[in-house]
Amino acid sequence: MNEADIKDRVSAFLAANDPSDRPAFLRARYDAGLAWVAYPEGLGGLGAPRDLQQVVERELAHTPQLNTGVQGIGLGMAAPTILAFGTQEQKSRFLRPLWTGEEIWCQLFSEPGAGSDLATLGTRAVRDGDEWVVDGQKVWTSGAHHSRWGILVTRTDPDVPKHRGMTYFICDMHAPGVEVRPLRQITGEAEFNEVFLTGVRLSDDLRLGEVGEGWRVAQTTLMNERVAIGGAPVRRGGGMIGPVLDTWREHPELRTHDLHQRLLALWVETEVTRLSGARLREQLVAGQPGPEGSGMKLSFAKLNQALSGLDVELRRDLGYDDWTFRRSEDVDFYGRGAGYRYLRAKGNSIEGGTSEILRNIISERVLGLPSEPRIDKDVPWKDLPR
């Protein structure tokens, strides 16, 4: 399959389908294998090389698009995990409405007692015939309130060391016992939720991967999460530095020598980070993925925080656009004020793996440095100090 073949398929598809009916058009696009071309045939793809996806996106840019904000967790995390570990029935059942956006997904991983040390999580799932009964609490769950499904990691065997006793499920968010409560953030709004699971019954065919294999399945999800957070292409001067540059150019009266020095240094760091991202994408297209990807999220978190902080200082604006407690559907950095961007960017070094954990991952997996001595590796989960 090459670029010309793909273009032929897209034109044949466009000739036969009417883009004015959005849901029908997206379903047909999935069925034509033009959803994610690298996926297998019958599951929205053609088993084609990954770089042909951009050809499809270009050719279909004028047709109905996915809502990547709301669908982010489904597309970026749930889908690759289902593809890697799901049964044939699960793939057929879940991937199509996930891609079209008819069913929204959320991620039920972190708990109040299990953040960076996710593997210590304690939400219990106990087998009862063909069903599992789930009890526990999850937190930082974006979009739980409009999700149809959640990807859920649970403790199924407390008697073995923590990494071994976990099982991964697809959680029915409409099941009795699932309670979603908004969690207000420092920005005033609530992107996240707490999810309380009380006697939630999930049938065994919602299990993803083997019993006790949950950690391995979760690793697939997390790997994809970090790529999703760090990977989008930007133009020179785009991204978080954009609004700062606009203010800088439009308001000469706000400029100071000190801010100028700092802005120039951040502009350079933004540019070399952008070039790294471009180089990384070139490597991916050439089929030589490098370890550089692990660092992208770390760079962006630091830059977003520094730039949004500089933006607030530059504007000398003591106000804030809106503290109203309300649910937000997705993160809107550019539709909001500098104060919002400053506060929201604080989450960039926490969500999807803290910057400290990312430095551990880089130093151990990329640089080959030894891990810290561990006291929890061979202790049954139930006996861990907490």
């Binding site: 150019r249 070039l275 551990n360 640089l367």
Partner: protein, 348 residues
């Protein structure tokens, strides 16, 4: 434009790296720095057999007609080895000026590796202040005055001097090497007292320096990579408190951050050779110069006491990095230039 390395570049890298590993490991560089830092035999092999001297010389003058992309890979390797050879000064800087002046005869000698040239310009000059350190005037076919801080002049067979907008070949200059911060690339004061000069052609010195600055970013990348890799190897070996010191998070996090800086230095260096406009050069210099210094400083600190000794080669890298930070403009000079290049004007 690509930011990746091609096959030709990887072959060239392997050839240069192999030769340096064999002929100039850091320990032997260290041995010669106080007596006779430049290694003419090594340069002869590099220039003639591997052919690096003629890389940037067009084929019409007997060169390889290669691009900055290949020269950048050579500089990465020479940086990794703090190799005491006049590649940057002769095969990059002087060559660029001679190509622009269409000095075919001199270029033919350089391309074959028979002769080595130096451009009489201060290593502290920049595309924004090209005449820093220079006070040369021309009078009826002779030059008078001097240039301070010239690298590679002491080992050059041919000395070419920019004056105004012209380039001259000069005989009978006095070249006095001064004790230099960078032991592996010492600088000299060059003086002319009615030295006879032959006009070669036009010279846009700022452009030549910008070309040098863009390629220096690749050398700085090589310096930083050596420092990072050597430090990683050391902290995996060195035990304190019954553990490798590299297992402590305080050390691991510093090295992860350094790695991320070096990753970005690689992208910046490749952008500066693939698309060498004023912006990519200024970006690469203002980032990579600092990363090389930071990598060498981290290397020294994380080696502990041994890093402070003369016998460990890390100081050669620190001195190269710190001196290179000033070469062809400091990071601050390049950021200041970006204020107009990238439309980020300062306060009125």
């Amino acid at each position: 434009m690509t930011l990746l390395y091609g096959e030709v570049e990887e072959e060239l890298r392997a050839a240069v790296r192999g030769l340096l590993a064999d002929r100039c490991p850091p320990a032997s560089v260290l041995k010669r720095v106080e007596s006779d830092p430049y290694d003419p035999d090594l340069w002869k092999t590099l220039a003639g057999e591997i052919g690096v001297a003629g890389l940037l010389i067009p084929e019409q003058y007997g060169g390889a007609g290669a691009t900055a992309s290949e020269a950048g890979v050579v500089l990465e390797e020479l940086g990794r080895g703090v190799a005491p050879v006049p590649f940057l000064t002769s095969a990059v800087l002087a060559t660029r000026a001679l190509v622009a002046a269409e000095a075919g005869e001199l270029l033919a000698g350089l391309a074959e590796g028979r002769t080595t040239a130096a451009l009489a310009v201060s290593f502290a000059a920049s595309p924004y202040a090209p005449w820093r350190g220079s006070s040369v005037s021309v009078d009826g076919g002779t030059l008078s005055g001097g240039v301070s801080g010239v690298a590679g002049a002491d080992v050059a067979d041919v000395l070419v001097v920019p004056v105004g907008g012209e380039l001259y070949e000069v005989e009978g200059a006095s070249v006095e090497v001064v004790p230099s911060l960078d032991l592996t690339r010492p600088v000299a004061n060059v003086t002319f007292t009615g030295a006879s000069a032959r006009l070669l052609g036009p010279c846009d010195l700022a452009e030549v320096l910008r070309h040098g600055a863009g390629l220096l970013a690749s050398e700085q990348l090589g310096v930083a990579e050596w420092c990072l890799e050597t430090t990683l190897a050391y902290v995996k070996e060195r035990h304190q408190f019954a553990r490798p010191v590299g297992s402590f998070q305080a050390i691991k996090h510093r090295l992860a951050d350094l790695w991320l800086d070096v990753v970005r230095a690689k992208a910046a260096a490749r952008a500066a050779v693939a698309d060498a406009d004023a912006v990519t050069v200024a970006v690469a210099q203002s980032w990579n110069a600092g990363v090389a210094v930071h990598a060498a400083e981290e290397a020294l600190q994380l080696h502990g006491g041994i890093g402070m000794t003369w016998e460990h080669p890390v100081h050669l890298y620190l001195k190269r990095a710190k001196a290179s930070e000033m070469a062809f403009g400091t990071p601050g000079d390049h950021r200041e230039a970006l204020a107009s290049l990238a439309d980020l004007p300062g306060p009125a």
